[in-house]
């Protein structure tokens, strides 16, 4: 397995940066969290020819929590037949992955993974198994939780350490970037675990 590029601890960029992403990908509107993920992926500058067969792994504790909260508010404030369809479709756990696939043009496998104590190890080993079994030759692996007041409130309520900061990695079965370095799953798990601890 090769690690071509990694971006760690990506913060929300704000409306100006998102305006550029929306222009680049011709997006009329998307929730800010999804734009954050797309911009993060875009920052890896993965060559266009790699994208159609690329696999995507989105890893999160709570997924698109902002949309889920909006949907729950709808359910509490209105009758069930009045809830917003977009909060439902954008609140499913794989909605971020879906939009990454769509706007990057990736037809490879796309998985959305949820977990807490084992998620870093399990997701990296799953990515490595995709490459080893030939399911795809390139992978976009994104770790992220939506940084919103609700998530912060849950964090303080439960004592759970801050949720997953956003990291994005471009992995491949062959070195696809001049700076690519060969890496084992064990070493990558260690690296991401350390980065997470530093960011939290």
């Amino acid at each position: 397995m090769y690690l071509n590029k990694i971006i760690s601890g990506v913060q929300y960029s704000g409306q100006k940066a998102y305006a550029e992403i929306k222009r680049k990908y011709e997006i009329p509107r998307l929730p800010e969290y999804f734009l954050h993920l797309l911009q993060t992926a875009d920052s890896l500058e993965i060559p266009t020819e790699k994208l159609p067969r690329m696999g995507i792994l989105y890893v999160s504790h709570l997924g698109p929590m902002g949309q889920i909260v909006h949907f729950m508010n709808d359910l509490m404030d209105y009758t069930p037949d009045q809830v917003s369809p977009k909060y439902f479709s954008h609140g499913v756990f794989n909605a971020p992955t879906a939009y990454l696939s769509r706007y990057l043009g990736c037809h490879g496998p796309a998985l959305s993974l949820c977990g807490f104590s084992r998620i870093i190890e399990s997701s990296i080993r799953t990515a490595a198994s995709w490459l080893a079994t030939g399911s795809c030759e390139n992978i976009l692996l994104i770790f992220s939780d939506e940084d919103i007041p609700f998530s912060q409130e849950i964090s303080s309520m439960t004592g759970l350490q801050r949720f997953l900061p956003t990291h994005a990695l471009w992995l491949s079965s062959e070195p696809d970037d001049p700076n690519a370095k060969q890496i084992t799953a064990d070493d990558l798990i260690q690296q991401i675990t350390v980065i997470n601890q530093q960011e939290q």
Binding site: I56, L62, G63, M65, I68, V69, F71, M72, N73, L75, M76, T79, P80, D81, Q82, V83, S84, P85, F88, S89, H90, G91, V92, F93, N94, A95, T97, A98, Y99, S101, R102, G105, H107, G108, P109, A110, L111, S112, L113, C114, G115, F116, S117, R118, I119, E121, S122, S123, R125, T126, A128, S129, W130, A132, T133, S135, E153, M157, T158, L160
Partner: protein
């Protein structure tokens, strides 16, 4: 990557059609709808498990079902002990749509009122069900929860296969589970995806899906693990493939490009041609878009050779994240019975389909079949399973 063949050594199932292989087998060929009721306010039907009215907190109920399902499936695999031998490395993957979304309404209400919310959130964020189960079965093992909406269960099977091929595990318990909640009913209703009648997959008058619930568990095991433990293989997972449409958040690609890719990848891993399949247990939700996508894609791949396909969602409803595993088990039942059921709910197939689905119980003579799953976000997964027909002793 190793050359291990992957077998299914045990399974368990619980859905609107019944609980357990035998009960579900009878229901599959009885030609009647499974357990269902009607949501008065939304005016849509939905399929349920038998214990729907006794259920409390949905996350607790889901965890209880997962524990029972894994234990029951392991009893199939290891009838003498019901336990995983110490020599074997174990993994647990759960595919689900709803159990990853913290949708406890009482929690949100308490937060809004500024009162102390119930402890459900602490339990939810401590670990997923899969992570709790692996601590009990094999603390050194691997655990994962996949949430890819309606292909979650099928993708859990694929991921388990990869883990075994990559020599990460010898045995993996794969669970697909979802329970009906107001969130899912209201959500599909507001998307205009839910029919006001029980679904009619592939019918010319179909107008939507019917939400269902259930749980299925299959135990995937490597060939060498079966031999070490002198087990008889049940079925073989012969092939698998996943691909994305990269097209739309809720609608499938009208030409089924992702589905075709997934099916082709499954046939490649199985090293089989499309024509070798005895039948396809289609996703067949009853929505105009899904059923048209599948019918036309199957026909295109068949290259004018005859093929059989049907949907079981008229019996159980759409069990969302559970459907991939439950319908894999249905596929196995049909292979064992050497017959396939008429698709319940389809009385007059859509004349736009190049090939109509099976309308009556039909005998088959081949030992390999495919189950397809499609989902929000353009996800597509195909699984190929065959009768094992051999022993390992």
């Amino acid at each position: 990557m190793n050359n291990e063949k992957i077998y299914i050594s045990g399974c368990s199932v619980n859905c609107a059609a019944g609980k357990g292989w035998e009960e579900v087998r009878k229901a599959l060929f009885a030609g009647e709808r499974g357990n269902h009721r009607h949501h008065q306010q939304l005016n849509i039907p939905f399929f349920t498990l038998q214990d729907y009215d006794e259920r409390g907190d949905v996350h607790e109920a889901c965890e209880k079902l997962c524990r029972e399902a894994v234990a029951d499936a392991l009893k199939n695999s290891f009838p003498a002990t019901g336990k995983i031998p110490e020599t074997e490395r174990f993994g647990c993957i759960i595919g689900t749509t709803g159990d990853v979304q913290f949708a406890d309404r009482s929690f949100y209400e308490a937060m809004r009122q500024g009162t102390q919310p119930p402890g459900s959130i602490r339990h939810f964020v401590q670990d997923t069900v899969a992570e709790r189960l692996i601590r009990e079965y094999d603390p050194a093992g691997m655990a994962l929860t996949i949430s890819n909406t309606c292909v979650s269960g099928a993708d859990a099977v694929v991921t388990a296969a990869h883990w075994i091929k990559e020599d990460l595990c010898d045995i993996v318990a794969v669970v697909g589970v979802d329970l009906v909640t107001l969130m899912t009913l209201a959500g599909f209703y507001t998307l205009s995806a839910a029919s006001t009648d029980l679904c009619r997959p592939f019918d010319k008058n179909r107008d939507g899906m019917t939400v269902g619930e259930g749980i299925g568990c299959v135990i995937l095991q490597s060939e060498s693990s079966l031999k070490r433990n002198r087990q008889t293989p049940f079925f073989r997972l012969r092939g698998w493939g996943s691909a994305n449409d990269a097209y739309h958040m809720t609608a499938p690609h009208p030409e089924g490009i992702g589905l075709e890719l997934a099916i082709r990848r499954a046939l490649e891993t199985a090293e089989l041609p499309f024509s070798s399949l005895a039948f396809i247990n289609a996703h067949g939700t009853g929505t105009p878009a899904n059923d048209a996508c599948e019918a036309t894609t199957f026909a295109r791949l068949s290259d004018h050779a005859p093929f059989l396909y049907f949907s079981t969602k008229g019996l159980t409803g759409h069990t969302l994240g559970a459907s991939g595993v439950i319908e894999l088990i249905f596929t196995m039942i049909c292979l064992q019975e050497q017959k396939i059921p008429a698709g319940i709910g389809c009385t007059e197939p859509d004349p736009a389909f190049p090939v109509p689905p099976v309308l009556q119980e039909t005998m088959i003579s081949a030992g390999t079949a495919m189950s397809t799953s499609l989902a929000f976000g353009g996800c597509n997964t195909a699984l190929i399973v065959e009768q094992a027909g051999e022993t390992c002793i």
